[in-house]
């Protein structure tokens, strides 16, 4: 076996490995950081994370871009009906409760920059961000 051929291929692997290693130090999980959630939401998130990572990564639902409760209901119902999903009707209620919280948080995060832009410049605006997210506050309690 030619050692130069081996080393050429090993170098290609090495380059990818270095890129991968550098990427890894960003230390990002595919799920969410439960410690940053309101305490009342954490048990719901645990059920979501447990059930919805059985067949695919959590990135699938979390990056789906869905923000509508009715759409989530159809989505979760479709997943519940998957063979061996392990998602019962009771789990469905809990998962949808978490996804409602998550969607509202997503909406809040999106709304922030635009609301800041329209806020009157001279005087501080009276908390427009809180007013825009009553549902999220409700769920978080």
């Amino acid at each position: 076996m030619s050692s130069s051929a081996v080393w050429k291929r090993a170098r290609a692997l090495g380059v990818i490995a270095v890129v991968a290693f550098v990427g890894c130090v960003t230390n990002r999980s595919e799920g969410l950081d439960a410690s940053k959630m309101p305490e009342s939401v954490r048990p719901d998130y645990e059920v979501f994370a447990q059930r919805c990572s059985k067949c695919h990564s959590l990135a699938r639902p979390l990056q789906s871009g869905i923000e509508d409760d009715a759409f989530w209901a159809l989505y979760v119902a479709r997943m519940r009906r998957q063979p061996s999903s392990g998602i019962s009707m009771e789990d469905t209620t809990v998962i949808l409760r978490f996804l409602h919280y998550f969607s509202e948080e997503q909406k809040r995060a999106k709304a922030k920059p635009s609301e800041l832009l329209v806020a009157p410049a001279p005087a501080p605006a009276p908390a427009p961000l809180d007013a825009s997210a009553p549902d999220a506050a409700e769920v978080a309690q």
């Binding site: 291929r9 999980s29 059985k54 067949c55 959590l58 061996s84 392990g86």
Partner: protein, 391 residues
């Protein structure tokens, strides 16, 4: 356009047309639809082959697999799925089906889909399984000596045209039962074939049409038990039977059993498959061994694996797997197999979550063959390094 270009282009054009057909009415009717997709780039390095070049016995170097899927919930009772894949075969139509659902317990699936078999089927997308390689029993083209072995027992995914009736039912809050029965075109092969012809079976250039008009039938039943709020167990059994030649004289039967445990985020999986494969015996000179007076017209291929996936941190999962393929029966002359051949593969690997939806997979494989190759070797080592993104 040359015939070969046309054969590559047609499935792609068909896929685009189907995607458009699903999307355009949805836009008008404001129906719920969801896009999902994945891309994986894998580098496979086999230092034990001469010049570290494994092209003669498999696919090494870079390979890309990509998939795009759209799901549309047309109403509470009807949904549509279309999935297009790109990989070593070029563009393929992996899914194009409608689910017509009367109740959770009664769903009718019509179109092109992978019929229900085993536990791996649902995870066959590259973004859903944590190693670059599939289990050997389900291997499609990444195994070494793939032409000698003609791949695994049941290459996955195995999309086919047909109809499936399936359903799920919860018995209380802790027991879920699933079933599926189906009739599909089935795998294809020649009249004088010695095994299934997987290229013919999947080829878009044959327009995804049947070669013998007799459906392959099969089914699956599974039971999932919740052992605790964070653990469950699934036990399942599957089977399919059909003929693969144009004259309907050569049959194949595949059976499988699976057992999967999930403790918190740790998965422990065991699966066994076996295929009894009839072959043409009209030209015995092609065979390596004399034909037995009775029962010499088939071989049996067994495949099994045990696998553990365990998250060691929020970003790192480790995976260990042991695979077995074992083949018994007559074999084509000069193929490099004997009456009883086997391969054991040991794999250790890990995945790193770099960002949500973006992972790096790394794994090492040790292959232990029962048959020595031309240079007298019966061991191979392979390394995989892959990046996979899902959206």
């Amino acid at each position: 356009m040359t015939p070969s270009r046309r054969s590559t282009f047609l499935p792609f054009a068909l896929a685009v047309a189907l995607l458009a057909a699903v999307l355009v009415p949805l836009r008008a009717g404001a129906m719920e639809r969801n896009f999902a997709g994945s891309v994986q780039l894998d580098y496979h390095f086999v230092p034990t082959q001469p010049q570290a070049n494994a092209r003669g016995i498999g696919f090494d170097g870079f390979t890309t697999e990509a998939a795009l899927k759209v799901t549309a919930d047309i109403s509470d009772h009807i949904s549509a799925n279309v999935k297009v894949c790109y990989g070593c075969h070029g563009f393929e139509m992996n899914m194009a089906y409608l689910d017509l659902r009367a109740a959770d317990e009664l769903n009718v699936r019509v179109g092109r889909f992978s019929p229900s078999f085993g536990s791996f089927n649902l995870r066959s997308d590259t973004a859903n399984h944590r190693l670059s390689d599939k289990p050997l029993a389900y291997d499609m083209g990444r195994m070494l000596r793939l032409r000698t072995w003609n791949m695994g027992v049941l290459p996955s995914p195995f999309p086919d045209n047909g109809v499936e009736v399936n359903g799920t039912h919860w018995f209380g809050e802790n027991v879920q039962g699933d079933y599926a029965v189906y009739a599909v075109s089935g795998f294809k092969g020649d009249s004088n074939g010695f095994d299934l012809d997987f290229e013919q079976s999947r080829s878009g250039s044959l327009y995804y049409v049947d070669n013998n008009a007799r459906p392959t039938v099969g089914g699956r039943a599974a039971l999932t038990l919740k052992l605790s709020p964070t653990s469950d167990m699934t036990v399942g059994a599957s089977g399919m039977y059909g003929t693969f030649d144009p004259k309907n004289s050569l049959s194949y039967a595949i059976v499988g059993a699976d057992l999967v445990f999930r403790f918190n985020r740790t998965n422990l999986r065991f699966e066994y498959l076996a295929r009894r494969q009839e072959f043409d015996t009209s030209d015995a000179s092609k065979l390596a061994y004399a034909l037995a007076p009775t029962g010499g017209n088939f071989f049996v291929k067994h495949g099994a694996y045990g696998e553990i996936e365990h998250p060691v941190s929020k970003v790192v999962d480790v995976i260990g797997r042991v695979d077995l393929l074992h083949r018994e029966g007559n074999v084509l002359r000069d193929l490099g197999l004997t009456r009883t051949s086997s391969v054991l593969r040991y794999t250790v690997g890990s995945t790193f979550a770099i960002e949500r939806g973006f992972r790096v997979k790394a794994s090492t494989e040790l292959w232990q063959w029962s048959d020595r190759d031309g240079s007298g070797k019966n061991l191979d080592v392979g390394f995989h390094l892959a990046a996979v993104g899902s959206f």
